[in-house]
Point group: C2
Chain length 681, copies 2
């Protein structure tokens, strides 16, 4: 259904055919997208109004009224349209397309004569455009509109929104840049940078790439634009009354020129959106310094600031990174949007260089933090994704109040749910990587799908992937090569074998980080095949024949995982992982307090598929211990009078039951813990 | 040096003679009190001005200017005068007395014609008296002035400040009360209630007791005075601009009538100051319902909301209690003032009924949380007393920023340092309890001292206590009874034994909660003596002869202590305690990360007195394990790419060194931990 792009030559087309993931993409299509449309139109009873559509109607002159919601409210409509674009690309739906077209018409009507679009400033402060880049999200909202336009264009072939955002981008290009008279600014919430790259790749218009590069290059230079702008405003902020302190530059990743940054700091979503654009630019411009910065920042996050669930951002103060190895499980933030941004970043790093560690982190974030953020009904979401929950503490200790023990209803103003929707409805883009120049097809994620690749010289390769992950690790591929005609192997590397079409290319299969038992076995047409490893990928280089089948064996073993000792919060504890899934203990299957649980590291865990539990999942049971509460000296009778008494062993054997982390919190609220003490070290 | 009180008959006079504690009382006398006087006069370079004296001068019309500092700034001068009063009582110092007298003259000059004293309202909002009881601390400041007056009167015999505060109290009595036309209010920060009891006990004036009782009785009734007052003010607060939400009644312990309260909630200092007054009133009025509330609240704190160090208040949000068993070690508050207030409360509970658990908690808070708050130089203090410190987290994780790894300089506006000063300079009041009616002398704390008691009928008993706690547990008592004359045994229970004076009384020695080896041995004049136990006290009932010596053996053994399993933060961990002292691991003696340390619960700890270390202390060494950091798979080379890898044992033996908690943080900033993982459970 994808329409050929204007600029970028699409080298792959992918359609997900996967029991596990189609459930989610259908949920997004059938529930999340319609539900969000109602939210955008203030039709959800008991929910705060979104005002998003209403704001556009007022800005378009179709309705009287005041602006409502947050200053970045426009981005909710944009993210919805982006998700719709992806969805229509894989599943045409005339009624949904009609609704979306009307929304696009409305955006067009709200566009100002000079191309500007932003309902907050149009309605409320028309003379204050671009005076508060640090707080006001103007370029951020523009970026989301651009992403929506690109997705909608690819999904439907319709140019209207693309033309709208090109006019807007042309206008922004006239405002920002190094030339005299232009503003030397950049946005307080990065997003425009990655969006302009998409616009460049879709339209081929180099100006958009340059503008993205300008925003990246300018950021963090001294004197700080944010500080100067704040001085010009009279030292005010959008977020509070009166004069305010100077902007926190690190929060906005504007404390240093981006090429000098090595440690992920500040607001986590802003950070990973920026790194995503940096990686894009490094790839498209060959900027080695920018690439090196991306590699340093990646390495810092992945090695020192990443939760085992793929969450990032250790503190709710500023929804931010804190510092290396500071990964508290209970006061954690690990925002859903931040993990989604990390997935964006990982994908761009894979485009720069196919290294399995990028895909490992992408998979980790996807199967755990991101998937766990959404309820089974698609209408409830976690913004914060904790690794340890004590519901009473969430209620009564203010330092843990941001950690919710149950997913929240999707309210009008919200960032995470529409981000989940756009990620899941574009998941096809994350599975493969094609490297036409050296005839390589990379498989980053094992998600059942039908894909078509165009290799150098135009040779077309069809690939069907069958996967039962995350429950079973056997993955099968079938190659389709048409002799002559549509999928003809026309390159020098392609030919025919006894009448059957053939093509020489390399199938590069990721060896997942969670596979720990030597090299996975590969069979082609039933026979074992050797391969060489490069950057964590098994390179299967051969002349493939139409109908060839490859079987890739990735046995899923339950592993107890430890954290580096520098991570204080996990000292003396293990997590449970099986394939890409991190597990957790829930009170519902075990007991409270869960802190009394300890796992016997010497015993073999048992696994069973329970089709009744939580919609069906592999449950893991382990030998462990709990504390015999009855054996604790009675504080009323023994004279201690406090909850402290001389140590004596109180452990008694128990069986612990772990469920996949992504399914937690779908029963009665209770304690949950990913990290479990070891009964022996 | 104490002058007989007007109302209360003093039944004991105590002078501390103790190597350990005299160091502290001298520090307070020689350093803390003079240093604070400079602070009150804005003479400390580099410190924020206090404005306290300056405010009184302006209010007295001696100087022009604006009010400076916090709305409760007057209380700093009051707390200083209170400490001076205690100090002069045990150590006359004419120069200090002259300075204090001048300060008292100044207070007199700042007193308004109607008796009112409060420099904030006098200078800044003279027409707003009593309009914001919930925020403005007027009655709180009054309470501290009263406590100062009582202490100064007992310490010097001078009535001037006492007369000043009596006039003020008479005025307050005309403003507040159940009678028509009076305000039905009470203070947002409890303090006046316990102060009025002291004023009653000193003056014998029943009106003051009744006013205290009124404040206690009225609190928490519906409709809420705080809410009504807030409505009358136009829904404003002292602490922020514009209209504000309705006051948080639980924060002020005004959510329920006090007799219905069972769980300690809200701001911890406010809470324990109130409970102190409640226990006073229950004792003086025989109010059984009030006493039952005190017992419930005590029990809730001691059994469910108490840190092992005697700290209370689990969260810095509102410096408050959170909920039962929520005792995080890293995000802890455990304010110094709250533990001091807990000591006040414990002392009142002991006056209600001598039960060793009250004294146990008093001792725990004193030797650990309170003593640890002050540096060796008497000029640096912790307000927050954590049980686990990671200095980098204190700096970089905003949720732990309130936890300081080094004691802070005593700045102008501060509550904890003067509170420490007044507690330590009145420590003599906490050691003994006399129960003249049944001729009992209770020893609550083992602190070397010379004491004199007056039993029923006027018999006087001298008691000299020699103690080497906290380092050695052998405590000796010597009884002095004068035949005839000053210390004559004049009661029916007293007599003469072969020319030597005798007296029949019961020496009631507390069996500390930390003593775990059966019953302590007691010898009188070298011979073993039996005793019976009552409420945790050894009752030595006999006719004592002048010169009798009692030896009380309390061997100090190092114990590993566990917490109830409901305390999630301490699961799988032990603390180290020796006698009253809780120990901790510091990075300086061990390694980082300290979370890698685990203690071998099976091995015997060794103890040694190190006279070089931290001014001399008993150091405890234990066998344990740490993690072999070298053995961790190199993340650069092994393909994990994250700080997570399959578990394998990495523990290696090590020797752990623990120092007394109260001495932590006196070296280079580093990690500290009270709770240590167990190497086996």
């Amino acid at each position: 259904m994808n329409t050929p792009s204007v600029g970028e030559r699409k080298t792959q087309r992918v359609r997900i055919r996967d029991d596990f993931w189609n459930g989610y993409t259908e949920l997004v299509r059938n529930t999340v997208i319609p539900y969000q449309w109602e939210a955008l139109n203030d039709l959800i009873e008991g929910a705060e109004p979104s005002y998003a559509i209403r704001n556009f109607r007022i800005a378009a002159g179709l309705q009287e009224g005041e602006f409502g919601g947050m200053v970045f409210q426009d981005s909710d409509l944009a993210k919805w349209l982006e998700a719709v674009g992806y969805s229509l690309g894989s599943h045409p739906d005339p009624e949904l397309e009609r609704i979306a077209d009307e929304a696009i018409d409305l955006i067009g009507q709200a566009q100002q004569d000079d191309g500007y679009i932003n309902t907050y400033f149009t309605i409320k402060e028309p003379d204050k455009r671009w005076t508060n880049l640090v707080d006001a999200h103007e370029l951020y909202c523009a970026g989301h509109l651009i992403e929506a336009a690109v997705a909608y264009y690819h999904g439907t072939g319709k140019r209207k929104l693309l033309d709208i955002v090109c006019r807007f981008a042309d206008y922004m290009d006239s405002i920002f840049g190094p030339e005299p008279g232009k503003l030397k600014g950049y946005c307080g919430h990065q997003e425009i940078e990655l969006a302009l790259v998409k616009l460049y790749e879709t339209t081929g218009e180099n100006r958009y790439l340059k503008l993205s590069q300008y925003f990246i290059d300018e950021r963090g230079r001294q004197p700080s634009y944010f500080v100067e702008e704040w001085e010009r405003r009279g030292r005010t902020s959008h977020w509070s009354q009166g004069t305010t302190p100077s902007p926190n530059l690190a929060y906005h990743q504007a404390h240093l020129p981006v090429r000098e940054q090595s440690v992920a700091v500040g607001h986590a979503v802003r950070a990973v959106y920026m790194y995503t654009a940096m990686a894009d630019l490094a790839r498209l411009t060959g900027d080695a310094e920018l690439r090196a910065a991306c590699e340093r920042l990646w390495s810092n996050i992945a090695r020192k600031q990443l939760y085992i669930t793929g969450g990032i951002g250790s503190t709710h103060h500023g929804e931010a990174f804190s510092f290396d190895y500071d990964l508290p499980n209970d006061t954690v933030y690990a925002e859903t949007c931040a993990s989604i941004g990390l997935i964006f970043f990982a994908r761009r790093m894979l485009q720069l260089e196919a290294k399995s560690e990028y895909a490992d982190v992408m998979e980790r974030a996807l199967y755990n933090n991101v998937l766990g953020s959404m309820s089974k009904d698609g209408k409830h979401f976690f913004y914060v994704n904790p690794l340890e929950v004590w519901p009473e503490a969430s209620e009564k200790n203010p330092g843990r109040r941001h950690v919710k023990p149950v997913r929240q209803k999707w309210f009008g103003c919200s960032c995470c749910p529409p981000n989940v929707a756009r990620l899941l409805s574009s998941l096809d883009e994350y599975i493969y990587g094609a490297s036409p120049a050296d005839s390589r097809i990379y498989v980053h994620l094992y998600i059942g799908s039908e894909a078509e690749f165009e290799l150098a010289g135009g040779a077309k390769v069809g690939l069907t992937q069958q996967s039962k992950l995350p429950w079973d690790g056997r993955v099968c591929f079938k190659v389709s090569l048409a002799a002559g005609g549509g999928q003809a192997a026309t390159s020098s590397a392609a030919g025919a074998n006894g009448g059957q079409a053939t093509a020489a290319f390399t199938l590069a299969l990721r060896v997942p980080g969670w596979f720990q038992s030597g090299q996975p076995a590969l069979r082609v047409n039933g026979l074992p095949v050797d391969y060489r490893l490069e950057n964590g990928y098994a390179l299967v280089e051969r002349t493939w024949t139409d109908g060839d089948e490859a079987e890739w064996e990735l046995p899923l073993e339950t592993k107890l995982i430890a954290a580096r000792p520098e991570i204080r919060a996990d000292a003396g504890k293990v997590a449970i992982q099986r394939g890409p899934l991190v597990y957790c203990l829930e009170e519902a299957d075990n007991f409270a307090p869960l802190a009394s649980a300890a796992v016997n590291v010497g015993a073999a865990p048992s696994e069973r598929y329970d089709e009744e539990l939580l919609g069906g999942c592999v449950v893991i049971e382990l030998d462990g211990t709990t504390v015999d509460l009855e054996a604790w000296p009675d504080s009323a009778g023994d004279g201690y009078g406090t909850p402290y008494a001389p140590y004596r062993p109180l452990a008694k054997p128990t069986r612990l039951t772990a469920v996949p982390y992504y399914l937690w919190g779908n029963r009665e609220p209770g304690e949950m813990s990913v990290w479990i003490r070891t009964a022996q070290i």
